[in-house]
Assembly symmetry: C2
Homo-oligomer: 196 residues x 2
């Protein structure tokens, strides 16, 4: 096969990423070999190792791409939710749930990533994306300074497990409905003084 131009090279890199995203979503990190990703993308392992440092590097790229997509959804939802911090918090949280359950990204981001990349590293990376938004929103809404971090962690954990739970329910729409209702209660609890 003759060598590709710079543009073509970028495209093969992206095709490899696409294949990896799909295969990882279907069967998880442990069950997907580099050789299989390469075959699926129509290249050899050499091409994969040229574009990505190693198996972990490829996975990191996959996770990063998925995470960025989710973060974009969250941010855009929060922005179009008005100026009130509470509304932004709610909108962002619900958008997160919807984004991570609509595509089949939950398994990769919520199950594989912490294990493969390592929980603390993954969390640190997340803290520069959607978790940062959450942290900020919680602070703005009036959560006490010393409780902002544990609240971020717990609310984030609640949403993550909600997403995984939704993903395995037969009636996705109903499950999403119920999960959103529960999530709203948790947010109520976190807001300093909520009536109702």
């Amino acid at each position: 096969m003759p060598r590709a131009s710079a543009a073509a090279a970028a495209q093969t890199a992206e095709e490899i990423l696409r294949s990896a995203i799909r295969l990882l979503a279907e069967r998880g990190f442990a069950e997907v070999s580099i050789d299989e990703v390469a075959r699926d993308a129509g290249v050899t392992r050499g091409a994969v190792y040229h574009h990505y440092a190693n198996r972990l590097g490829l996975f990191t790229a996959v996770a990063g791409a998925l995470q960025a997509a989710v973060a974009r959804s969250v941010v855009s939802a929060a922005e179009s939710a008005g100026d009130a911090p509470e509304q932004q918090l709610r909108a962002g949280c619900h958008a997160f749930l919807d984004a991570i359950t609509s595509a089949s990204t939950a398994r990769t981001l919520l199950v594989d990533a912490p294990s493969v990349i390592g929980w603390s590293i993954w969390r640190a990376q997340d803290a520069q994306n959607s978790a940062a938004e959450l942290r900020l929103a919680l602070a703005e809404v009036g959560v006490e300074a010393e409780l902002v971090d544990p609240t971020t962690a717990q609310l984030s954990g609640a949403m993550n497990d909600a997403a995984l739970w939704i993903s395995e329910q037969p009636d996705r729409a109903a499950a999403r409905e119920a999960a959103h209702r529960v999530l709203d209660r948790l947010i109520d609890a976190i807001l300093p003084r909520t009536p109702r």
Copy 2:
């Protein structure tokens, strides 16, 4: 080496399990080979494969043992918390947090297990242990029937991430304090009608 008696055999099986528990807690599933577990336990790989079906079988045994220990703590705390369902719920949740953060079991149970065993299988197994207690407690406390499952998932997720968060804080005692306070708020939100 001469063949061991039945009692001795049970002991080597347990030593293998101990070694696996420690090594997995320290470095995670991906970084621990069967050979290393065998060496640490003072046997060969043959012994490991005799007592456990394969690598996944060994890990499953490890996870099951840790999970059972946590479940015992939760049940005993809930039982000695009096008769009021709400008190049992609170006691159980706080006991779960303490149990899973006191030993170094958080990583194995919360990060590796869902990935290695598979999230849905793991959840199903958990649903017969501590998650079952939680589900029951939530139902007794008056959570609406159709919200019991998503509430179980989200509260469980909140506690899991709280545990992982605590595990990486330098000041464990303070972190635990803060996490418990946040957790109490979430429980408040879940109880049908809470004043205060």
